[in-house]
Symmetry: C2
Subunit: 453 residues, 2 copies
Amino acid sequence: MHSDAIRPWEELAELIAKKDAAGLESFWRELPPEEAPRILDRLSGEDRARLLELMDAEQSAILVEYIPEHSAGEIIEKLPASNAAAILHELPSDEQADLINELHAPEARAILAEMEPEEARQVLQLSVYPGDVAGGLMITEYVAYRAAVTVDAVIQDLRKNRARYEDYNVLYMYVIDDVGGLAGVLRLRDALLSPARAALADLAHKSVSVGSRDSLEELEAYFERYPFLALPVVEDDKLVGVVERDAVQAALAARSEQAYRASQGIVLGEEVRSMPVLVRTGRRLSWLSVNIVLNVAAASVIAFFEDTLSAVIALAVFLPIVSDMSGCSGNQAVAVSVRELALGIARPGDVFRVWRQEVVVGLLNGVVLGLLIAAVAWGWRGSPYLGLVVGVALALNTVVAVSIGGMLPLVLKKAGRDPALASGPILTTVTDMCGFFLVLGLATLMLGKLVGA
Amino acid sequence: MHSDAIRPWEELAELIAKKDAAGLESFWRELPPEEAPRILDRLSGEDRARLLELMDAEQSAILVEYIPEHSAGEIIEKLPASNAAAILHELPSDEQADLINELHAPEARAILAEMEPEEARQVLQLSVYPGDVAGGLMITEYVAYRAAVTVDAVIQDLRKNRARYEDYNVLYMYVIDDVGGLAGVLRLRDALLSPARAALADLAHKSVSVGSRDSLEELEAYFERYPFLALPVVEDDKLVGVVERDAVQAALAARSEQAYRASQGIVLGEEVRSMPVLVRTGRRLSWLSVNIVLNVAAASVIAFFEDTLSAVIALAVFLPIVSDMSGCSGNQAVAVSVRELALGIARPGDVFRVWRQEVVVGLLNGVVLGLLIAAVAWGWRGSPYLGLVVGVALALNTVVAVSIGGMLPLVLKKAGRDPALASGPILTTVTDMCGFFLVLGLATLMLGKLVGA
């Protein structure tokens, strides 16, 4: 609309070029927050790094959270280690660990060396966990006291260390025994509303806890079952952290997002278009080149039946229809299985049950679609035999497609592979080959009736 | 493993048949929570309703949260209205409203009539908001006081109404003026750790707030920008509710999930395989029948070039390869655009920028893939012209596919349509038609060189 007005990212680049720290501060203060990702995306990597150097660590940390994790790692690496350490200090411990895991080892070591030893130790400790288990999602910002401590002593401690606890989400306090074992939990407000001389031991409830290696699915189930905002994480009988409901939700959202991207062929991590062209091209090609090999393999079935095809050239029109439609049906079954796996309704062992339930749907839909396409073929060429061939082929191939589409995600899950990612190309290749084979094979059997159609 | 052992859902069905309330209570207590969705899924709809009648409302509410929303509505409708009202009472207000929205009007009215008038009024008020704006995601369980109230009076009120606040997540308290306007906010613990006679007016900060019609994207941006666990929702300058970070995260996860399902052709709400076969068949067919029309339309391009095809039958092998590969390339571009839209990096108005950035990737990948397929064609048939035709067709069609795939989601978003859902079939139809046209059109132009290939 204001095509003559200066664009916000140009204004930002100018402020960075002028090293105008005060101008930058007011730029971000005035910017509506939902604009930030788009504007940061338009900056070059160098400008982003310069921007973070110019802003104070607290503001930089807010900006870092707007940048996709992979790019954030690249920018952090460009900063002097002391700046990077100061920014990391402002992030919650789980994000610190995620970011450190994105860096190359020398840069990561340099930054850790600039951090307070205790903080660096915690980051290192958290960074050993995979991102999708309780240990990788937990934070270490929690408060824990011995059972004999009184409410009054807790309040004294909270007041005294107010600065430190300022950024904690202190919702619960944990009660630990002499060796660091989790003895109970109570809500902050339950403690604060209790008599000053009450000991925590008398106020605490027995706590539900999760293991540091518990999977995202298990955490989801816990948070669905219990109304708590956070759960303590235990390893070797010791309290080691707290996983928040929010962190589990965010991880689930990221996983759904990843499943969607994978199903569409973006497989090597996220892509944003501000990445270098060769990176984007290379990543997409890695997936496409697998697909082209599978495609050529599937199409070789057509080459095998070339004589039939030249005798009944009308078949060529129906080959892509049968293979595409079966692919659609199969993908629907894949989506239902991926979802049932995620919800915990289906297990990898349920392959037979899933197959039984898919076959019925496949038969019904196959018959409907087969009749439709048979009518089109008959109407177009006036040959009931052509209709019979393509109709039966589509009906049978629909049953094949939903069977494979339904079972494949379970099998892949059992084999430890990503069901959303690998199902697509395997399914398509099989349904293509099988579809081509059914159309051309049936046509070969009925060649006498078909010639001239 | 224990194939002779009784399965947990059979045990559950038996307990329900025997109306063994105590047995049911211990069944759920002993069951690992992650088993619950799978077991509930195996029960018939009637058994699920009977189960909820047998359990107390609090436990029933926990079970209801395990059941996908659509099925939960069906079960709630089967219950006597008073039981349903008691279960609803145990749910947070946003879930009450969501569930009421799933019911048919007469059942919804009957249940609301059984609820306390104040609660029913709140549910009705919440149920007018769409599920993906602040009003639809907010809860009304929050505490608010006038500015002149002292810390001591707050503590008295919290203690007195402990039973009512028990299930609230009281993290913040809101300060309101005489007409219900939001005057400020403070954390519960900041209030509790302050002198007893301090007035809230002196402790409260100016609060960030969101509007009741603010979109999920805007809420996401707010929660990214601010570290708060909940934000107050304001309508007509009045405080009307609180939206929690957790609720926004859950809605984002559901949306990603929906995008994935839509991209795979599950479009009319979620499907689980325990739904009736005809419902599942019908829903999937509604999508497949759109696709078959588009498929037939695309394939009619082949029929148009039948003479060329019978002269050079080898082309039939390459038609599905060119159309499938272009579909893959286009879907990659769709996935990147859907993600950039969700992240706020791309806007519907960025169509030209997106196109420019896709064309480069499309050209590079098109050339690589075109060379590959040309080599296959040349090698197989010994005809460089066949290689030229299919290679050039694939290269050009890749550029077309990524251009459309990149821009389509933005255009659909601008038109208010779901970009993840509608992009797929439109893209595939265009890339199929265009791919068939390019292969057969180029072949027609070079027919003299190709015959015999």
